[in-house]
């Protein structure tokens, strides 16, 4: 027999292997004493969670809530935002570029795995989460701080925005300070509106309802918007008028800046700067003519040369010059909206004063004056007075057309169009969808889709065990 190793030699490697651990352990043990010096590294570029605790953190939390909401609402250099996403989905904007995910918005044929929708959805919910966190910290350290009102308003607006843009069934969850996930149940549209209502009610309470600050007026406008969404126009008007009427000149804007690309106005960026989307004109046959007539509330403008053609090298590009610059502010809510809700309530009630109200707004050129950052702008002339169309439906459509122009690119249009086709029993007007939403042949081939709200993007929300993978319903 040939033996390669003696028994002793064969055991030697095994002993040696176990023996190897000793010197390594000794070395590692010796270095435990200097571990902190060896392995602790500085991280100076970011803040850790401890930066968001304590009274001193409240201003940063408030600013963070404003920042996240701004990004969710009107976007930035790289984030579309709810305004443009819903604008492309409705009749406000027209696709003029190449992104396969965003053409789905324009055509209203949505794939649940749409990364562009997912990005906006996540940002909208991040706006809500940060506002919620900020509110909790205010409650903990300075519950009566007036700045808490704005935080609560942003929380309410976040719920409202999600309810307007997305289908019923959106869950709202929480990641706590320890990193634990607390998943929320999908909320119906009514429940989302309830959440908004609670936030606005708290804001009114903190700011005291009689106060005339921007934030308390915004809280009342938000509260009115909730009632409006529920079809309760009387209740909505109550919040607008009591204790003192919100004036037509009231406005709450999110502010943009050229200071950093995150602060850019996303509406300007995607339309004027990147030439991705044009102002639409009669989109899908029934869309409103935002270009024709040069309405100063839209300021659709076609630039000369290459700037006048979309990114796709084909589509004539009309930019909405109410957002003429990356630093242009974006209106979130204003007194004109309050006046339009009053007008709608009157129109529904058969009160002819609705027309007076509309025409008073149209006559007030200060409400559509030149944007401060629009170079070479000439002062507008007053819009022509409207006449009574003579039918109840005509009056409602007239009010909503006015809303579309006055509130152009403010993320209101999707809620308006949903409400126009929502069954009367659910607080809507019950109009046929093909008389409100673009339909027929789609310019890039095929036809417009039939969706009237955004589905909840998959697959990201799929790891929420409370989420069934689909909307509770796709009703308007």
């Amino acid at each position: 027999m040939i033996r390669f190793l003696s028994a002793a030699a064969a055991r030697a490697p095994k002993r040696a292997l176990s023996g190897l651990v000793v010197p390594v352990a000794l070395l590692l043990g010796a270095c435990d004493t200097i571990k902190d010096d060896l392995l602790t590294v500085p991280d100076v570029d970011v803040a850790r969670p401890s930066a968001l605790v304590g009274l001193a953190a409240l201003p940063t939390l408030r600013a963070s809530a404003i920042s996240e909401f701004t990004l969710a609402y009107s976007g930035s250099s790289g984030t579309e935002g709810a305004v443009t996403m819903s604008g492309l989905f409705t009749d406000e904007l027209q696709f003029a570029e190449s992104f396969p995910t965003r053409v789905q918005w324009d055509q209203r044929v949505l794939d649940p795995v749409n990364t562009s929708t997912g990005g906006v959805f996540r940002q909208m919910l991040r706006a809500r989460a940060v506002a919620k966190l900020a509110n909790e910290r205010y409650v903990q350290y300075a519950a009566n701080d007036p700045n808490r009102t704005e935080v609560l308003n942003l929380l309410g607006l976040s719920y409202l925005l999600v309810a307007d843009v997305f289908c019923s069934g959106v869950p709202f969850s929480t990641l706590d300070d320890a990193g634990n996930t607390i998943f929320g149940q999908p909320l119906t549209r009514a429940q989302m509106l309830d959440s908004a209502k609670a936030a606005f009610d708290s804001a009114i309470a903190v700011g005291t309802r009689s106060s005339a600050t921007t934030q308390t007026q915004l809280a009342r406008l938000g509260r009115a918007r909730v009632q409006w969404s529920l079809g309760d126009l009387t209740g909505a008007v109550g919040f607008l008028n009591t204790p003192t009427p919100i004036a037509a000149t009231f406005a709450y804007n999110v502010l943009h800046s050229a200071n950093s690309s995150r602060q850019w106005n996303g509406i300007w960026n995607f339309a004027a700067n990147q030439r991705r989307w044009s102002v639409a004109n009669g989109k899908g046959g029934v869309g409103l003519a935002y270009i024709t007539g040069g309405d100063p509330r839209v300021r659709a403008t076609r630039r000369s040369g290459s700037s006048g053609i979309g990114f796709d090298n084909v589509t004539p590009l009309f930019i909405p010059n109410i957002h003429p610059d990356r630093a242009s502010p974006a209106v979130v809510g204003n007194g004109v909206e309050a006046e339009l809700i009053r007008a709608e309530a009157e129109a529904v009630a058969g009160n002819a004063n609705y027309l007076t109200r509309l025409n008073t707004l149209r006559a007030n050129t200060a409400l559509y004056a030149c944007p401060t950052l629009l170079a070479g702008c000439t002062a507008p002339t007053a819009l022509a007075a409207l006449t009574d169309p003579g039918t109840a439906e005509g009056r409602i459509r007239q009010v909503y057309a006015e809303r579309a122009f006055w509130l152009y690119l403010t993320a209101h249009r999707i809620g308006d169009m949903r409400r126009l086709i929502r069954p009367v029993a659910q607080g809507g007007y019950g109009y046929a969808a093909n008389t409100v939403w673009p339909n027929g042949a789609y310019p890039l081939g095929g036809s417009y889709g039939t969706e009237v709200n955004f589905s909840i993007p998959l697959p990201d929300e799929r790891n929420n065990p409370n989420f069934t993978g689909q909307c509770l319903d796709r009703n308007p």
């Binding site: 390669f4 190793l5 030699a9 030697a12 490697p13 040696a16 292997l17 190897l20 010197p23 390594v24 070395l27 590692l28 043990g29 270095c31 004493t33 571990k35 060896l38 392995l39 602790t40 991280d43 100076v44 570029d45 970011v46 803040a47 850790r48 940063t60 600013a63 963070s64 404003i66 920042s67 190449s98 396969p100 053409v103 794939d111 795995v113 919910l125 991040r126 989460a129 940060v130 869950p171 969850s173 998943f183 502010l255 943009h256 800046s257 050229a258 602060q263 700067n273 040369g305 290459s306 090298n313 084909v314 042949a441 890039l444 081939g445 036809s447 993007p457 697959p459 990201d460 790891n463």
Partner: protein, 1034 residues
Amino acid sequence: MKARFRSLLAALATLVAIPAAASAQVGSIAGTIRDAATRQPIPDVTVFVVGSPRAGRTDDRGAFRINQVPAGTVTIRAVRIGYSAKTKQVTVGAGEIANGDLDLGQSLRSLDQVVVTATGETQRKREAGNSIGDLNLANVPAASAGDFSNTLAARVAGVNVASSGGTAGTGARIRIRGSNSVSLSNDPLLVIDGVRINASSGGFSIGVGGQSISRFDDLNPEEIETIEVIKGPAGVALYGVQAANGVIQVTTKRGKVGKAKWQAFGQMGVASNIAAFPTNYGRLGVVGAGPGTTTRCNLDQQAYGSCTPVASASAGRDSLYTWNPLTSPISPIRTGPTQQFGVSVSGGSEAAQYFIAADQEKNQGVYDSNRLYRNNLRANISAKVNEDFKVGVQAGYVQSRLELPQNDNNLYGVLGAAMLGGAIDCSPRTPCGTDTLSRGYAPGQDIRDYVNYFDTRQDVERVTLSTNLSWVPSKYLTLTAVSGMDQLSRFDYQTVFPGFIRNSADLLAGSRTGNRINVATYTSNVSATSGISLTKWMTSTTTVGAQYISEVARGTFASGIGLIPGTNSLNAVSRNFAVGESNSVFNTFGAFAQQQFAFRDRLFLTAGVRGDNNSAFGTNIGYLIFPTVSGSWVISEEGFFPKQKVLSSLRLRAATGQSGQRPGFRDAVTFYSPVSVTVAGAETPALTVSGAGNANLKAERTTETEAGFEAGLFNDRVVVDFTWFNKKTRDALIAAPLAPSLGSASARFVNVGEVQNKGVEALVTAKLINTKNLAFDLTVNLATLDNKLLNLGNDDGGRPIPPIIFGLGGATQRHQNGYPLGGFWDRVVTGYQDKNNDGIISRVNCPGQPAGTGAAASLQCEVTLSDTAVYVGNILPRFEWSVLPTLTLFKYVTVTANLNHRGGFYQNNSTEGFRCGSAFYNCRSAFDKTAPLAEQARAISWWMGTRAAYFEKSDFTRLRELNVRLTAPQSLATRLGLAALSVDVAGRNLALWTNYTGLDPEVLQGSQGSNFGTADFLTQPPLRTWLTRVNITF
């Protein structure tokens, strides 16, 4: 703790003290090593004293000398690549010089070739239980091989080098035995002369559309002596927590004993584009009821009846327009000159040797905005303070200036502007409305503007320094210390000249970006090795050591717009200022130990272990332990092994081991990024959530087992090296998606994934003909790879993590359980038929597609798709082979080639897909009814929302290199006053055989910096290069 430290010191002191007692009288061994057949002296032969750290190396005359050899009878062993090792017993008298003359016979076996280990020591390949791919650059023709990445390409089995494109100065994706990690880098570790080197594959901070710079290619192959590739954890455990992707270990050239030897070369050549760029199509038509006409009346619109083709505006012409800007006179693509010159000198005495080299390279791509200027300097000095104490210093310096063009996924890319552009040259022709300038994608914008008015550059200054100390206090003990640094200073900058780029108001105003980045890597490595003969037939070698590595990256970033014409500085911008800073530090501390037992110098059993801690681990994680065990048995040297010619030698080997990959900076921590927000008109600081941390995050752990053999056949004229490997990565970092409803970061890393790579590798080297006037050597290597994601794992709530979907276009690639990482997925075309015989394949009335109206209402769907996305193919080749023949005629003419085949993988031909299916549609099958129906079907499938039809099987065979070397007869060289003279004529990328229909199956739109993203999208394909090189020695 202090007691433990004292114990450690005591142990080390004991190790040092043992040999002191063993000192004895000494002598020397000197001799000459010659070729047994030709009797010519052989330089670069290493002569060892067996069982001792003493060794010497032959000079140009084949002479060597080893001093301080203990008196008595010793065995010396002479080894050199290309020769059979030989041993000889020598009796050394005290104070005498013993004769060590030896003759070596040529052989293809490499068992006694010396390789460098992780501990900084050397070992013979026969001792290693794992496969080591090695490349001696003396055998690689420099002219045809090119840069470092290309030098590796197709030469080492299991190493896949995929060129990212044909842009000068950009890199290649290097994968060794597949991809281990879903989330972390899959780039191998680079070690030069024992020191960790930054080999980042994405080294540019300014976007140019996709291409990027690989720091691998800062290395100058002219300075390299050998490259060793340790392919996986079975062999790299002692490299620690970052070595799971394999290690590329480079040894730079060293001086040799002898008089100064000068070598110089100069090479010049030209690079040219060989890709056939497709033609743009369009058709005149009337949209709807008219009256307006369009030049883009496509087949889809015709099928739906929303557009009707009309006759051409030019009488007698068909309304189908075609134009190809890239073959027209306005094409900015031209040939690019390339040149490189270098000189080196080496030599030295027994006491000290030196190698000094300087090299200058100018390489121009096929765009005027693509240039690489690079200067390399190297000075390596080795000194012997005495027979027991040696020191080496290796210093390298790189200075480069690179200008990159705009291309790939880029609105301002030259190829994009051309290939997505119109079918009409608007300058000389109509109709283009009022636009009389457009010659490409953008109205009024000439594609040449993107070459002329974007100036994007990177300047690099890089110093690498390695010092190694070796002290042999006795024949039983060697102490080694290796330390060094890699200091990289980058300046990335871009100027867009004002007044020219009309697509963007910002760029029209001119812009300037300047980013300064410093990356430093510091390595400190100490080890002690004790070699003891336990019996006459058994020796023991023990190594213990420790390593500390610190990687520091700091950058400042600044930009602004509104540039004053004629200026080129941040000073001259007037608005939209942006500034930022980035700092990251990784520190790693590890300790290791290795024990080897050698039996009769034929059987080697080795075990090792390394413990690592790293600053990127979660706070709950301590040291991680990586073990390794290997065995190697040269069975043919056993007495029982039959002596025969067919199987003349055989070595069996096996190894198993573990290694890791550390998490990224901040992957383990929760953090918020500072941002600004405007509040009440004032810029105000705010925070945005950026990372949702995981305190339990640790390194990925990859376990590999490999086994194989090396067999010499027919008296070792043919050598076969075969390896089977199987490696599994556990605790793979997976970015577990966080539900958007949490309002937090989009994902956080958890150690839950499992990835497997397995395959076989074979290297066959053969000396088929070896006569006086004709020699023919052949090297064939082949490798297979089966890469699979075994499990994405569960999130912290116990729910399975859904497939990770990504890729160009958002959803073309997936990481999905049971399939290769990053594979191509989408709904596939399952059938098509022109049912109404109108020559158009249409989607009218297809499920999920818009219904036809009017006359189109009755049409039948002509394309069917699968209901769901299915797996189409993987991104890495499943098999690869290379043939590298060397033919020598009359000693003076040597022809070498590199023929490489890759198969079993797919490419996303997104260039054609985008041309056919996006809003830019301008391909033939979008407009021309005579286009093949299959082409029309895949074009319309893109419109139907799937890209799978453009995932193309991409098997190819490429003649990567051909080199013809003419070596001048010695008499001619001498008459010219030279020691040697040769001339190379070389070509790169000379032929491509493939059924892939895109520009090139190998390109990477996202560059090598993209871990998995793979697409052929408006990327400049690899160029063909012809070069002439003159090499002289004097």
